[in-house]
């Protein structure tokens, strides 16, 4: 049963690529927003907080449709990006990465924000008395101490991106080899007669990938946590 077909491999590799790109692209934004929410008070903070969390509570189809309106060929930003920068999201794997990155973003920001909030801010003051300007203090103290939270945030985002279905299929459809991820492929297989065996194979693959991600993050976060606690 475990001879995966070429089409199945395509869907698996595509899923991994989309989830990895989504996570890596979201990471700098996740750290910046997590830091802002943890450390700064500014006008509109609760609005930013709400917008970041929105994909978590909105029906994914709604998020996907909003992305289509915004980043579609005739969308508000999509036309501009396509005409002037040559970046196209609609019906491309990059669009799938955008959709799944946005869906995973709230989970990432939450983990990073919590870990930055738990850092003793007085350590940054100590760094300043030793000559570190705010940017250096952030890079040498805050960022390394937030690492366990950043890792678990990234893994949560990756897992969410890997399993994302509703927003992705609404925004970029279900095109084999371009936007058909494992989830979309399973969905397609369940719609055709005699697709059960292939669907089941992909289900097992999805479970294995998720498990590996979970174990890897657990291990990484634990070793980073030991460093942070000074052991």
């Amino acid at each position: 049963m475990f001879d995966l077909t070429a089409d199945e491999w395509t869907a698996i590799l595509l899923s991994l690529r989309i989830a990895s790109v989504a996570t890596l692209a979201a990471l700098p934004f996740g750290i910046a927003v997590g830091w802002l929410l943890a450390r700064k008070d500014f006008w509109g903070k609760s609005v930013l907080d709400g917008v970041v969390l929105l994909p978590l509570v909105l029906p994914p189809v709604v998020t996907g449709y909003l992305l289509l309106l915004t980043f579609g060929r005739r969308g508000l930003l999509g036309g501009f990006l396509a005409d002037y920068l040559g970046i196209v999201f609609s019906f491309r794997w990059t669009g799938a990465a955008l959709a799944s990155g946005i869906m995973g973003f709230p989970l990432m920001v939450r983990a990073i924000r919590l870990s930055i909030e738990s850092i003793d801010q007085r350590l940054e003051g100590a760094a300043a008395t030793l000559g570190a300007n705010p940017a250096l203090a952030f890079a040498t103290i805050t960022l390394p101490l937030a690492l366990p939270g950043i890792i678990s945030g990234a893994v949560l985002c990756f897992a969410k991106a890997l399993g994302e279905f509703g927003a992705t299929i609404t925004f970029v459809s279900n095109i084999p080899g371009e936007t058909q991820t494992i989830s979309a492929a399973i969905y397609t297989l369940t719609q055709v007669p005699a697709g059960d065996a292939a669907a089941l194979r992909l289900v097992v693959v999805a479970i294995v990938i998720s498990f590996i991600a979970l174990i890897a993050s657990e291990w990484l976060a634990r070793s980073a946590g030991r460093r942070v606690r000074g052991e």
Binding site: D120, R122, L123, G125, A126, A127, A128, T129, L130, G131, A132, N133, P134, L136, A137, T140, I141, P144, L145, R227, V228, R229, G230, E231
Partner: protein, 231 residues
């Protein structure tokens, strides 16, 4: 001869710090009961807290002048040893000690550094992380970290207060060596007359956010009864 002039005012909730004093070379104690505002004054000298108004001058450098000058903490070159050490938990003792030199891009001075390590007896701890140090060791490393950044003035905020009586007796000789060998001007914040008597000659007595007397050990005599803390 190093000279520090402080004349600051700061409202902290219902409490107001309003303190003015000068210090000459050597060690000056800021002495007074807990909650008198001693740490706030030290934080203003270090640049970690901004006064509402006033002036702070170290030799011929104006560190703060209301409305005109507020030199950031990382440019002041004022070392700070905190009550709880505040070592960076994710860095080894070696990296903690080198932190100031790296941030300030000072060239390495192996001889001077060797002297500091010997004076504080911490050379054997270099590869450990702060979580694996005893309270006394941690505080000695905190002294070393502040010294190695080659500060113009060293602030010591209740450096022994978090230690038990035996650890205090262990550290006190190092402090006295620090005073006699490092020849660095210091401000020693403490509520314990015995400590102040051992390390400082000049005493600035603080109470209720104000300077109530400036003088020598005779100021400790009046205060001894009410202020001696059960170690």
């Amino acid at each position: 001869m190093t000279m520090l002039t402080v004349d600051v005012e700061k409202k902290l909730g219902a409490f107001t710090v309003e303190a003015a004093f000068d210090t000459a070379a050597g060690i000056t104690a800021l002495f007074g009961p807990s909650g008198a505002g001693k740490t706030s004054i030290a934080n203003m000298i270090a640049g970690l807290v901004t006064p509402d108004r006033g002036r702070i001058v170290l030799d011929d450098t104006v560190l703060f002048e209301s409305g005109r000058i507020d030199m950031p903490s990382y440019q002041r070159r004022i070392g700070y040893v905190f009550q709880e050490g505040r070592l960076f938990p994710h860095l080894t003792v070696r990296a903690n000690l080198a932190y100031g030199r790296r941030m300030l891009r000072l060239s390495a001075e192996p001889q001077a550094e060797r002297r500091i390590l010997d004076m504080l007896d911490i050379g054997h701890l270099m590869e450990r992380r702060p979580g694996r140090l005893s309270g006394g060791e941690r505080q000695r490393v905190a002294f070393g970290r502040a010294l190695m950044a080659q500060p113009r003035l060293l602030l010591l905020d209740e450096p022994l207060a978090s230690l038990d009586a035996a650890r205090k007796r262990e550290i006190l000789p190092y402090l006295i060596r620090l005073r006699d060998e490092a020849k660095m001007p210091m401000i020693y914040v403490s509520h314990a007359p015995a400590e102040v008597r051992a390390v400082a000659r000049q005493v600035v007595r603080i109470d209720g956010g104000r300077v109530v007397a400036i003088g020598g050990h005779e100021l400790l005599v009046d205060a001894e009864g009410e202020l001696t803390s059960p170690a």
